[in-house]
Amino acid sequence: MSQHDKPVKISKILRNKAEEFLSNPNLSNNLLDIIKHFETGADTSACLLTLEFIFTNLLKNGEMHIEVIPLKPIEPTIEYQYRQWLRNLYEETWSKVLTTFENSSIKIQMQALSSSMNILAYEGRYPLEHKGSLECYVPLNRLKLILMRILSNKHHNPHLVAKFEEYLIYDDILFYVWKVLPSLTAKSNPNDIYIMNYLLLLEKLQVKRNEESRMLCSSGGMNMHFNFDETALKRYLNKIWNCIILWEHTVATHKQLLIVLLEKVLPYLDKPLLLTDFLMDSLDVGGPVSLLALQGIFTMIQVYNLDYPNIFAKLYSMFEPEIFHTKFKPRLFYLADLFLSSTHLPENLVAAFAKRLARLALVAPSEDIIIICMFIGNLILRHPGLKCLLNHSVGGTTTNDPYIMEERDPLKSNAINSSLWEIQTLQNHALPSVATAATFINNPLPSIEWDISKVLENTGDNIFDKELKKNSKLVALAFDKPNRFSLSKGEKLFNYWNFC
């Protein structure tokens, strides 16, 4: 028997056993067998599926339901004993399923999550004990346990979080996760794995109701009226945030925190201005973190009327050659575009930006040069005073560029007295697409700005594809025959490389 067939067969056997047990409760040994097999650790995924199948069916049929009538002693009938036994088994299995969250295989982890969520859903629909209220019932303790597993402090669980996101489209789950979350938030400093998991989860959580109202833990959901209390959510969020902000962050978690802050949390905070200090500190970290902080500060300036005078110098200092190799390059350009969109900025300042970008273009990858060319073009369009960078009032020659690259303060960089020679140089770029992009300085500027957002995400591949598509019919061949290896004209490789 080949190994390949084995798991298929075992899952089939397990399935058969489960079905037998469900049709005939007397065969309770089957269930015990399955659980035992599960404990051995082999074929975990198949066992999980089978157990999920068994318990969801049991829940559906209400076989574990125990009627509790107050003030009435429970009669220890056989059926009651059986049910009690089943429930004990259920609790036991539940805790075992939760342990598989720490299984080494990601696949099994995912399976465990989906199984446990399924069981949870069924329990919500068919509660173990009679629930008086009509409101939707979600077994909170179980949800809490699941979340605890996801927010592990030992393993990074981005896949689990991603999987868990699928359940967040259900309003009830979303709401109760928010409700449970404050109690799961560490008060003192947790380790970064926990923080990372936590922030990942937080990034996925919505703070408002889903557009389409769906319930996981209610059958049909027609008579259930679920009260989605958004103000409560905000309250939970603020509570959580106050804890999180106090944690000690590494660079990675700091970045993640800022992303979460910018994308999810900021609009819902009670007192966003309290974040100013945090953002200012982040601004000095450098790299992507400061970029994100910058965006935060921009939002604060824009929405909450924060006054931060030195922001342009900060932005200016972010334009370094390294930026082209980070993932945050599009964001930086987007932000810079936003910041410099005001027409009331001093020309000196904007000229400094233009000039610095032009310098960077000399070392930038080709796709970024195109962006920079457009960007500078837009700057000049917005600030007609910058035309002197293209069209010097007097003319003449100089031996040195008046612009000082090393100057940190854009206002002192003397850029306004310079010219955009760099762009002129780039007209000699080896790639024709770049060279043509740089020719904009030769012609009168257009009346409409270039649309940068289209090209921000471009990579070298785009340029390559475009060149392939150009497909000109012109077929040109070299006309001097290579003498063996070397060209008669312009041969370089042969000069420096030894082929024997």
Binding site: W421, A430, E467, L468, L474, A476, K481, P482, N495, Y496
Partner: protein, 935 residues
């Protein structure tokens, strides 16, 4: 008697009508008074026919608008579709005929699908086929002979009748003849003439027919005699004639151009190269001119000669060494006695080499020998090319020439051996595996020769399928390169590169044979490789890619501004240099190789590729020893703390070979040798780039980073040569900084608008109207706008007139109906009055006036009601009200309504009486009150 009169009347009526049409009624003509009269001016609007045109418009409306109006609110219409029913010009009889004809035509209508019975075309009642037999050809000579006089009056008559001297003559000779007689005489005469002519014609016809029949009888006799005469003549043709004819019809040698002298050939070759170079430069600057795409076809001889050209280079190299000028082509060829093969090719123009040619005779393929005659042309063609390329290469590579020379000579010998060992012809490999197994076991030189012979044997001019075969061969060779480049150890990779060098010239030739195929294949390869690379952008891909990139630079012009193959290739290179991480020895070597290639690609155009400079900067950075605290910045893909190229041991005195080896493209340990070579290569490349970018405006800014790192590289341990390079480079960058002149950017000044000339602006005026001077589009637009305005006005006018017309119709209808109604009312009233009179008469008889009056009053009331209904006039209303008032006062009200009809006059009388009576009696206030009510 009456009939002719009637006829005349009719005719006169018709003619009158026609005249009326032609002649206008002078009273209808409206003449516009002209205030200023200009002589010779024609104006359209000086007179018009308003009445006539109005009439016309009215008629038109009657036929269209009125008809529509009549049919308004009617869903059905009758339309008479009988033929000619609506055509008033047709008489009844015509209609019947037309309908009958149509009916017949319908009955005879044939199926269009029945091609067999086509209608027979006729000419003068004869079918065309009959005519085409030309059975009865009558010459028209008879007609034309006396045609001049045939139907015409003879000269005498004309002279007499027309110009006959007038009255004098007439009175003298034929005074008795009246005009009528003259005419009659004329007619009889012409008839007579015609009859005569007819007769004559018939006679000739008869005679001709007779002659024809007789000739037919004679015909066999005539033919016999002829044929007998001819045959013996034919037999007489002797050998001499045969030979003569043979010579006559033999293909003559076509006149050709005289053979060109060598100078001319060289000049032509030079010109050709110059044009090619010019085109290249144009493409380099982005001007895509339509270049002559039909390249000169390279023939099999060309291939053969190409080889000669190769070996020639070697020889000339040696000559350069010896200091003999290489411009003298003659000398070169003469000196080439070392190489027997070449002399074999060039024997046709060099008699001195005849002795040596005998040795090489057995080398030649039979095919080559046949086509030898053209060889001289190509050979010298390439020589010319040679001399040019040499003069350039001479400057650049003097250093390594002597080194290579010996090597090449050695190789030459090997090749000669190979040439003799290998078979001369090969079957074309049917698939790639076959080629692979054919080439792989052979050493690289043998592969060169095998391919050479393969291509020669399957030259397109030798067979139809050969072109496709060679296209296939190109693809196979690419695949072969791809396969051999997967080398794992150093021997393999060396061999791989050697094989590659040997294959490249053939690939070049194949590309020249079918450029389009080469383009598509190369593009396909590069695209595929790039797609593979995309999967893992962080690591340098396989070695095959550098080979292909090098191949691109060999086959295609790298200097074009945009080239179908080269541009993607350089984009690919750029991407790799930007993205790939540099960790191992292979990464460094690979990157350096790519950078060298980038230099090669851009060396002619002096274009700028930032990624290449960035890479070299990164290499320099690797050579800087980093102390723990101070970080030296470098942008990715390099790592800040990489010390891999730092040279620790002293190699100052070593005189090692500094060229990089392709072996480094394999994984391996980084040793000092590699470090020195890498840095040396890096420095030399930077130097070349620096020279290339000298003219760029921000050249110094490009090299700022280089300078910064250069200063930090400790040069103490490096060999002297490397140190030299280093100092040279430093100096160069510094001079670059000091010498450059940066011109402030200025937009090209706008061309100043030309001032108006002082000469008068003379325009030709053809009409008196002055037109604005404006662009053609604008005038066109203005014209259209004007037209639109006029049309709109016209349309509005038409609509207005239509409305008027319609309202006229409506009011006419209304009047008509009113009149009818009036007539009816009148009729009623008259009947009523008649009745009344009868009644009155009866009353008078009975003398019971009082009762009658009361009756009448009752009747009057009723009449009033009827009046109201008819709503005839306000005056009457007033009247009625007065009456009402009177009646109100009158207590005696009658309820009788039996009598309805009352005569109006009578009522009025009565009413008047009552009113008069009432006014006497009633108080005035009440009366006036009644009047107010009415108001």
């Amino acid at each position: 008697m009456a009939r002719p009169k009637n006829k005349r009347n009719q005719i006169s009526n018709q003619s009158q009508k026609q005249q009326a049409k032609k002649k206008l009624n002078p009273f209808e003509v409206h003449i516009n008074k002209e205030k200023l009269k200009v002589l010779g001016k024609k104006s359209k609007s000086d007179r018009g026919l308003p009445g006539v045109s109005r009439e016309k418009a009215l008629r038109k409306r009657k036929s269209t608008l009125q008809q529509e109006f009549k049919l308004q609110h009617k869903s059905n219409t009758f339309s008479d579709k009988r033929i000619g029913e609506r055509n008033t010009n047709m008489t009844d009889e015509d209609r019947f005929i037309a309908r009958y004809a149509k009916l017949k035509a319908k009955r005879h209508k044939k199926s269009i699908f029945n091609l067999a019975d086509e209608e027979v075309l006729t000419h003068k009642g004869q079918t065309l086929s009959e005519i085409e037999k030309f059975e009865n050809v009558m010459s028209d000579d008879g007609d034309s002979l006396d045609g001049d006089t045939s139907g015409r009056l003879d000269a005498d008559f004309v002279a007499e009748a027309h110009f006959g001297g007038g009255i004098l003559k007439k009175t003298g000779i034929e005074g008795a003849k009246s005009h009528k007689d003259l005419i009659e005489q004329l007619i009889t005469e012409s008839k007579k003439r015609k009859a005569e002519k007819q007769k004559l014609k018939e006679e000739t016809l008869e005679l001709t027919e007779k002659l024809d029949s007789e000739w037919k009888d004679l015909l066999p006799l005539v033919n016999k005699s002829k044929s007998k005469n001819v045959v013996p003549e034919n037999e007489k043709a002797d050998d001499y004639d045969k030979v003569m004819r043979q010579l006559k019809f033999e293909a003559r040698g076509t006149p050709s151009d005289r053979l060109k002298t060598e100078d001319e050939i060289a000049r032509e070759a030079k010109e050709k190269l110059e044009t090619l170079e010019k085109e290249r430069l144009e493409r380099m600057h982005g001007v895509i001119s339509k270049i002559n795409e039909s390249r000169k076809h390279v023939s099999a001889d060309g291939l053969d000669v190409n080889f000669v050209y190769d070996s020639e280079t070697e020889v000339t190299l040696s000559y350069n060494q010896e200091g003999i000028s290489n411009v003298e082509l003659e000398a070169e060829i003469n000196g080439k006695t070392i190489v027997p093969r070449e002399s074999g090719d060039s024997k046709s123009d060099n008699s001195e080499n005849n002795e040596s040619s005998s040795e090489s005779g057995n080398d030649e393929n039979p095919e080559e020998c046949e086509e030898e005659s053209d060889n001289e042309d190509k050979l010298s063609d390439l020589k010319g090319e040679d001399s040019i390329s040499e003069s350039e290469s001479e400057l650049e590579y003097v250093g390594y020439e002597d080194k290579i020379r010996e090597d090449l000579l050695k190789r030459k010998a090997i090749m000669e051996n190979a040439r003799e060992e290998l078979p001369y012809s090969y079957n074309f490999p049917s698939n790639y595996e076959e080629l692979h197994s054919l080439l792989l076991p052979q050493p690289s030189e043998h592969q060169f020769i095998i391919l050479e012979r393969l291509i020669k044997c399957h030259h397109p001019s030798l067979g139809e399928k050969n072109k496709e075969n060679l296209d296939l061969l190109f693809a196979y060779l690419l695949q072969y390169i791809n396969d051999i480049s997967q080398a794992k150890d150093i021997q393999d990779i060396n061999k791989c590169f050697r094989v590659f060098t040997n294959i490249t010239p053939h690939l070049y030739d194949l590309a020249q044979m079918s450029p389009f195929n080469a383009h598509t294949l190369m593009i396909g390869v590069i695209e595929e490789k790039q797609k593979d690379y995309r999967k893992n952008k962080q690591t340098y891909p396989g070695n095959d890619i550098v080979l292909f990139l090098k191949l691109v630079s060999c086959i295609f012009p790298t200097s074009d501004f945009r080239h179908v193959v080269v541009t993607p290739a350089i984009t690919f290179m750029d991407q790799m240099l930007n993205k790939c991480r540099v960790r191992t020895r292979r990464d460094i070597a690979y990157g350096l190789f790519l950078t060298t290639l980038a230099l090669e690609y851009t060396s002619l155009t002096k274009r700028f590729l930032p990624s290449a400079i960035n890479f070299l900067v990164g290499i320099l950075h690797m050579a800087i020893p980093k102390t723990g605290v101070k970080l030296i910045k470098i942008s990715p893909p390099f790592k800040i703390s990489c010390n891999k190229l730092v040279l620790c041991n002293n190699h100052e005195e070593s005189t090692m070979e500094l060229a990089m080896s392709v072996g480094y493209l394999l994984e391996g340990e980084i040793n000092d040798e590699f470090r020195i070579r890498a840095i040396h290569l890096c420095l030399s490349l930077l130097e070349e780039f620096a020279v290339n970018f000298m003219d760029l405006q921000s050249s110094y800014e490009i090299f700022i980073a280089v300078l910064k790192y250069l200063e930090l590289v400790p040069m103490g341990n490096y060999p002297k040569k490397v140190k030299q390079k280093w100092t040279l480079l430093m100096e160069e960058i510094i001079t670059m900084k000091n010498n450059r002149r940066m011109e402030y950017l200025m937009l090209a000044p706008k061309k100043p608008k030309a001032l108006r000339l002082y000469e008068p602006n003379i325009e030709k005026v053809y009409d008196t109207k002055r037109r604005k001077i404006q662009s053609r589009e604008k005038t066109e637009r203005d014209k259209l706008l004007h037209k639109l305005k006029r049309e709109r006005k016209g349309a509005l006018r038409e609509i207005r007139r239509d409305r008027e017309f319609l309202s006229g119709i409506k009011i006419n209808q209304k009047i008509q109906s009113d009149m009818e109604r009036q007539a009816k009312v009148n009729k009623l009233l008259s009947e009523a009055s008649l009745q009344q009179s009868e009644l009155n008469a009866m009353d008078r008889k009975k003398n019971r006036k009082k009762t009658i009056t009361s009756q009448i009053r009752g009747n009057v009331r009723f009449c009033i009601v009827e009046y109201l209904a008819l709503a005839l006039s306000d005056v009457l209303l007033l009247f009625v009200v007065d009456l009402q008032a009177t009646l109100d006062r009158d207590e005696r009200q009658s309820s009788q309504h039996g009598l309805v009809k009352v005569r109006l006059d009578r009522i009025e009388e009565e009413l008047a009486e009552h009113v008069r009576d009432g006014r006497h009696q009633q108080c005035p206030a009440e009366h006036s009150g009644g009047g107010e009510r009415i108001c």
